[in-house]
Amino acid sequence: MGLYRERGVVLRTIKLGEADRIVTLVTEGRGKVRAVAKGVRRTKSRFGARLEPLSHAALLCYEGRSLDTITQAEAIDHFRPVREDLERLGRATCLLEVVDAVVQEGEADPRLYQMLLGALRTLAANDAPLLVPAFFWRLLAQQGFRPVLEHCVACGSGGALVAFDVGEGGVLCPSCRHGTRITADALGLLRRILGGDLVAVLAEGPLPAGPELEYLGTRALEHHLERRLRAVGVLDRA
């Protein structure tokens, strides 16, 4: 059992005992890390906001049998503009949830880690209404579930494409159609997201195809991860 240094983004925290928390992070070198932060809930804790969800921190931890313990934490970035804007915070939370579902303990995924950091930096600079659908679909592609968008996934027809099926992993023509309806706008946007046009997509304002792709992306991720994602749309429920 040894001491180690890692950089990571805090994904979630749960209360433990009187004043501690179990902090779940995605780290650069160790994938998911679950570690105890002692006394973090006391107002005088030396950790302060450094181990709050969304914080990017450099940590010193020591390994334990089931859980590690965080002994030091230094902030790299708090993404304060994200924290202080409800819209952006809602989007960021969707990313944290899905990364938590994808990343495995002890399995480093540096590309996923960089993707999350990049997305949070984008969001800190400017709100990006299409960030969540873009992130979800890029993540699916990165995890090996790149959807077929060029032709019907069932018969290969290159004509009109009108539906998307998460199980088949692609779009379908009118005669093979099953799954969920997809509009031409949403299909166009999805091609841009997975093609080389991500930067321009993230600079766009809200588009009607955004929520549609967010919904489809959520269903596709839920299908592959075999678990429910809860963060999407929570803030809109009043």
């Binding site: 979630r12 209360k15 433990l16 005992g17 009187e18 107002t43 005088k44 030396r46 950790f47 302060g48 906001a49 450094r50 709050e52 969800p53 969304l54 902030a75 708090h78 304060r80 924290r83 202080e84 804007d85 409800l86 915070l89 809602g90 939370t93 969707c94 944290l96 949830e97 938590d100 809860r230 963060a231 929570v234 803030l235 809109d236 429920r237 009043a238």
Partner: protein, 199 residues
């Protein structure tokens, strides 16, 4: 595994917040060793609290009867509401002796990652109080963590257009602490919220 009643007790204790299976077992065996009347006093306290204490129908604080002690107290300043997450936060604010208005307990905070949205909190009930109680100021006193901040931002967006004063408790440095240990976010906000020193 233990005999029926002991196992039941361990399982019930294990459901309490912050109590893991090991602690549950330890507490159960502690209770077994306790003199009968001591253990029954605990059982009675639990029964009592479940029978006599309910939630205040107005503010959702704990109450004996229809409304809580704060709501029925006519010396309380009317027109101001302090919004908190849990009844225990009322106790914390009361200890400051700095606040004379009434409260509203949300019974939680928005937590997208747990799937808890505004619809699961006492938000509609808060809105319903504004007019009849002629509320002119709402103080958002949720926790300074990500859920509490999200809740405060959500409520501010909801309440501001209604023309009342909406304030958020300041975040700052703990009295008696050392500046060098303060995290950047707290220190940054403390700097922003600085006040002129009256000499």
């Amino acid at each position: 595994m233990y005999a029926g009643p002991v196992q039941d007790l361990i399982e019930e204790l294990g459901r309490l917040p912050g109590v893991g299976p090991k602690s549950a077992q330890r507490i159960a065996f502690h209770l077994l060793k306790l003199p009968k009347q001591d253990a029954l006093r605990l059982a009675r306290a639990v029964t009592e609290v479940k029978e006599r204490v309910t939630l205040c129908t107005r503010c959702f604080n704990v109450a004996e009867g229809d409304e809580c002690g704060v709501c029925v107290d006519s010396r309380r300043e009317s027109g101001v509401l302090c919004v908190v997450e849990e009844p225990r936060d009322i106790v914390a604010v009361e200890k400051t002796h700095e606040y004379r208005g009434r409260y509203h307990v949300l019974q939680g905070a928005i937590s997208p990652i747990e799937g808890i949205g505004p619809d699961q909190l006492k938000v509609r009930e808060l809105l319903a109080r504004l007019e009849p109680e002629e509320i002119s100021e709402v103080i958002l006193c949720t926790n300074p963590n990500i859920e509490g901040e999200a809740t405060a931002m959500y409520l501010a967006r909801l309440l501001r257009p209604l023309g009342l004063k909406v304030t958020r408790i300041a975040s700052g440095l703990p009295v008696g602490g050392d500046l060098e240990y303060a995290d950047e976010l707290t220190l940054g906000r403390a700097l922003e919220g600085r006040r002129e020193v009256e000499a």
